[in-house]
């Protein structure tokens, strides 16, 4: 645990620290939940991944469908525990942006084919929450991406087991965090 936690919380931590913890726990909890819901039903997730028609070789399709849920759980746990927070947050951004793009492209294809109002389009995007309205999903993903990006830049170590795995300054310098 970060050394600063042992002191009186009110005196040593500000609103940014609490916001950072809230962001980590929201993101972490959500990714663990979404990952578990897919990992427990891998066949259903495999079918949903296939429907995007992006991966044409069965080996690639199987690797993505079988590892992605567990990878999400892993990143979610890291954020919940406060371990390698920036590395995990970069990975979340690296997953969320392509997910959002493919969901958007698929929704646009449906919109063009069926002439439905864009925000009335609803489908199971394979995100772990069943069928969702596309506008809600896009807004949610944008928010999650923003939160993940904020965690990359926020310096708070509050309630972190090990915020950074690698130190960015020589160990001889007296610092409380990795700045």
């Amino acid at each position: 645990m970060s050394s600063a936690v042992s002191g009186p919380i009110a005196g040593r931590f500000g609103a940014a620290d609490f916001m950072s913890v809230a962001a980590r726990w929201v993101l972490g909890g959500l990714f663990v939940y979404m990952g578990l819901s897919k990992a427990l039903h891998p066949v259903e997730f495999l079918k949903l991944v296939r429907q995007y028609d992006l991966l044409h070789h069965h080996l690639l399709l199987n690797v993505v469908a079988s590892t992605l849920p567990w990878f999400e759980i892993f990143c979610g746990l890291l954020l919940l525990l406060g371990v390698a927070v920036r590395g995990a947050s970069v990975m979340l951004v690296a997953m969320l942006i392509p997910f959002t793009v493919v969901v958007l492209l698929r929704a646009l294809a449906i919109h063009e084919a069926g002439g439905l109002p864009f925000c009335a389009i609803k489908f199971d995007c394979g995100c772990g929450a069943g069928e969702v309205y596309v506008c809600k999903k896009l807004a949610e993903n944008t928010l999650l991406t923003a939160l993940s990006m904020a965690l990359i830049f926020w310096r708070s170590h509050f309630l972190c087991l090990r915020h950074a795995v690698f130190r960015s300054v020589p160990a001889s310098k007296p610092v409380l965090n990795d700045e």
Partner: protein, 210 residues
């Protein structure tokens, strides 16, 4: 210099998370009883993808030019795969055929355990082709002995009946015997036909007198 060091530390951490996460994910999949077999093709003959969306209020999107009538599109696709389509009436006729009881006509349900036990065509064998090792040892001998085999799943956008039929074909069942009931259990129940609950030959029937 400091921002560079910081960026390098974040990059290294990201690579570590990616490598460790991938290794753990592969291990978890391998250890999970529900895990996928990485080298298995779960969609035999499924390189084409006609359906882009099974959403409740959305429409199917054809990836290439296809007939406007979905049933005709299915028929053509099955034809290319060497399979034949059967209508609801034909399945009912086969269900009432005297050859059905002794197993010369087989009806095969390609859905998972949960859906199969919730209700299937009476006497239908289960073959969830995503777990073939659980079903083929029993199903293959009776399939080889049968004269006609009808495979179905949920109906509508469901493709599992096609994949199950193709897997049976690849296991050695002559393709001439294999038929796909595209309407599936949805069409069957919509016609008020009998449905068996629980295990095969459980005797628990819904709509016993169609």
């Amino acid at each position: 210099m400091q921002p560079m060091r910081k960026a390098k530390a974040v990059l290294l951490e990201t690579l570590l998370v990616a490598a460790l996460g991938l290794a753990l994910a592969l291990a978890a999949n391998a250890l999970s009883s529900r895990g996928l077999r990485l080298n298995r093709n779960y969609f035999p003959g499924g390189e084409r993808l006609a359906v882009a969306n099974p959403g409740s209020n959305s429409v199917g999107v054809a990836s290439n030019a296809a007939p406007a009538d979905p049933l005709e599109a299915t028929r053509q696709r099955l034809q290319q795969l060497g399979l034949q389509l059967v209508s609801s009436n034909e399945v009912v006729a086969l269900f009432r055929d005297p050859r059905y009881e002794p197993g010369l006509v087989l009806i095969v349900d390609a859905r998972d355990d949960k859906h199969y036990t919730a209700g299937h065509i009476p006497g239908a064998w289960q073959f969830h082709h995503y777990r073939p090792e659980n079903f083929l040892p029993d199903l293959l001998p009776v399939s080889l002995a049968a004269q006609q085999i009808v495979v179905y799943c949920a109906g509508g956008q469901c493709e599992d009946s096609e994949f199950a039929a193709l897997m049976l074909r690849d296991a050695g069942v002559p393709r001439e015997k294999l038929f796909v009931y595209a309407g599936g259990i949805t069409e069957w129940t919509n016609h008020g036909l009998p449905v068996e609950i629980g295990a095969r030959r459980s005797g628990e029937l819904l709509n016993p007198r169609p």
